[in-house]
Symmetry: C2
Subunit: 441 residues, 2 copies
């Protein structure tokens, strides 16, 4: 008998981040960073587990946990995934159940839940193989990588043969780039200075600190009030000087005409990109924003799936593709998106932050560098200094770069005591808050 | 004290429709038509309730029910909605919670749940007003109707002033059209002959019966096998003759190149439209299908929200807009979509069938006829003869037309005994099936 998945445990974990306005922006004034977290265990006898999660910002984390539970029958009793064949089969099963597909298709809660399980399976397989996920991926053949992708709805733009050609072109340089990556890491930028809830003094202080720490790019949240944004952008530009890139992020706050007007006003301060100027569903809107003002356009953290990314590229709507490790259906769908971006020559600059998104997505950018696009030019992974202390193998930032992870797996694992403390609503952190609220009321 | 919502009850209701292959198509081989169903009660003392639901096809109906539960705090204790102001406020609250919005935004499980509650509130308000929803809507002023719409992400194409102009243009003819509607009803087409699981004899027999019953349009499911589809289309055309419209529906089965090839092969049999040729997210793909072959294109039952509908119209991707009463955020978001379609002069031909979708959506088409587009030309509401017996005020079809509902409310109410019998997994229908399965195994 080959070993199978024998345990499937789901946790609703929430951190009360809204207390400090960490993570506050024009659309998300008070997020409680949360994870619908799943642990897979097996009877292989090697003690290897698979950990994965959906990232949410509080309310509704229980709905996402319920969606993960709905996928339990596809995972329990399944042969332990070891390589490309099993990891492809699991992804296809989780996203092609005809009844569950009705709830998306391939979008929202149900799709995020599939992503959590796909990522947990990758954590399991890479851990058992003794490799970090980026390397586990970069050691696969082009044919294996192509087998991981669902080309449905992509073939008007990207066929399996196209994908194979991209991967084969990058193949000869893999070893050299992996060596460089281990030596130098991967460029990061930081969003920590720019949350909308921070006052001007804190914005300036943190912007200067970011430069001192070696970051070549920072990011400011914008979109609530134009005069405030002009003042904050001016302060940040004065604080960091002309050579540091300042990206701005509207978190979907605007309609197309607002985005054009706002960015014309901010353009004199040389923003590197405008991120999420409007609805993540509005492909044609992003194209209009890109055409209508001088600043480059980035989006992706809320883009539902590979089909929407395909169109953003087809329509010439974005200058930067911002993948997210935990919104689409995990590693497999992100490989499709990396291939689409490579086909169009558009740089991938991942969204991160939240809970554990930096930990996950670094693997995908590093894999992209080694085996897909073959370059880190114009590419940078978001870094936010929140909640890393809860992870067993947190990201390491060194002079504005992600150090290349060496521990086996997907860096997805939280400390057991963090899970226990932050379980919602019964963990001690939340119990204590309830008591405090009752006393104060 | 003004009366408030005091009870909020959610049911997971499923019908074992997969037994008969009713509803079988190329993507959904064995649906169990289901409803995550919600009932609102108040302390108004008038006994009026509000009923609403999400339609799903089986597995995951529990996840949708959990999503409705997550919205409970927005509804319980709220003043009983009576008119446009309260119905607008509820819709905005349900779709703008910043934490829950992260789970979409405005798509998938969370958005469908908001739709169920919005629709339940309309059922409640219209019932209390003693009017069917179509009339309750058609009696509102253009200003009230505009206040119901969320114009965020629409203003590059449709502003509140544009909407007001459309509604004012239709205003003088309202009374006359309402009279015609009460006399003549609204045109229907039937999908009952064309399910993919039916054999040729049943297809031919049901097609002829549909024509004999007065339908001027039928629909066939296609997309699994081209030679089968050519044969079935040929049989259906021979059965109904040249003057009856035959729509075909691929249920998202194809990539763009497949859709073009397939429809070129079916074109000689004069299909009226090709429905869902590819992914509902693929705006540019639908535009390419429309440009690449001679058959008109329809889509919408899986389109996530008004922003995607906006782009389908902007891109010239569709000849028919197929709204669904229960996928987007209910009546309010569907008014936005009706206005967008009116702006572009594209006919709205709703998706229906499933559980209770005919009952709901007839109100929206009739409202469109009376107060928005002002015409029923080229318009037709889908009709499927399934599960109507479970509703207190089922649709009535007469010579291929929907009779205009006169009972107050949204026709959304199921018989209490149907709810009790089909509760999943503990209702007697499901208990009995489990016992049968155990005996047979």
């Amino acid at each position: 008998m080959s070993p199978t998945v024998t345990e499937f445990e789901v946790f609703d974990i929430r951190f009360p981040t809204s207390d400090q306005l960490d993570g506050s922006d024009a659309m998300n004034p008070d997020p409680d960073y949360s994870a619908a977290y799943v642990v897979l265990r097996t009877d292989a006898g090697d003690g290897v587990e698979g950990h994965g999660f959906c990232f949410t910002i509080g309310r509704g984390n229980d709905v996402t946990a319920a969606a993960i539970e709905a996928l339990r029958p596809y995972v329990m009793g399944r042969p332990v995934p070891r390589g490309a064949a099993e990891l492809a089969a699991l992804y296809f099963d989780l996203t092609h159940d005809s009844q569950l597909r009705w709830l998306g298709p391939e979008k929202g809660v149900m799709h995020m839940a599939a992503g959590a399980l796909v990522n947990a399976a990758w954590d399991l397989a890479a851990t058992a193989a003794g490799k970090p996920v980026w390397q586990f991926l970069a050691d696969m053949t082009p044919e294996e990588l192509v087998s991981l992708v669902d080309f449905r709805y992509l073939t008007d733009v990207l066929t399996p043969d196209d994908a194979l050609a991209i991967l084969r072109t990058a193949e000869p340089g893999r070893a050299g780039r992996a060596e460089l990556l281990r030596a130098n890491g991967y460029p990061a930028y930081t969003t920590s200075p720019g949350w909308l809830g921070y006052d001007d003094e804190k914005l300036v202080r943190l912007s200067k600190e970011a430069v001192a720490e070696g970051f070549a790019q920072i990011k400011l949240k914008v979109g609530a009030d134009l005069q405030d944004d002009v003042r904050r952008m001016k302060l940040a530009r004065a604080a960091v000087g002309p050579s540091i890139r300042i990206a701005v992020d509207a978190n979907q706050r605007w309609d197309v005409p607002d985005a054009v007007r706002w960015m014309e006003a901010l353009a004199p301060f040389d923003p590197h990109w405008i991120e999420e100027p409007t609805s993540p569903d509005d492909i044609l809107g992003h194209a209009a924003v890109r055409a209508g003002q001088p600043v480059k356009v980035a989006t992706g953290e809320h883009v539902a799936n590979r089909v929407v990314f395909k169109q953003l590229l087809q329509a010439g709507a974005v200058d930067f593709v911002q993948i997210d490790a935990a919104r689409v259906a995990g590693v497999n769908e992100n490989i499709a998106i990396l291939l689409l971006a490579a086909k169009y020559g558009v740089p991938v600059c991942p969204h991160a932050g939240g809970v554990g998104l930096c930990e996950l997505v670094q693997h995908l950018s590093m894999f992209d560098y080694v085996a897909v696009s073959g370059t880190d030019e114009d590419r940078v992974i978001e870094y936010v200094d929140h909640l890393h202390e809860h992870f067993v193998a947190p990201v390491v930032i060194d002079h504005g770069r992600y150090r290349t992870p060496v521990a086996p797996g997907f860096s997805a694992r939280m400390h057991p005591e963090s899970i226990t403390a932050h379980r919602y609503p019964d963990g001690p952190v939340w119990q204590a808050r309830r008591t405090t609220l009752e006393v104060n009321s």
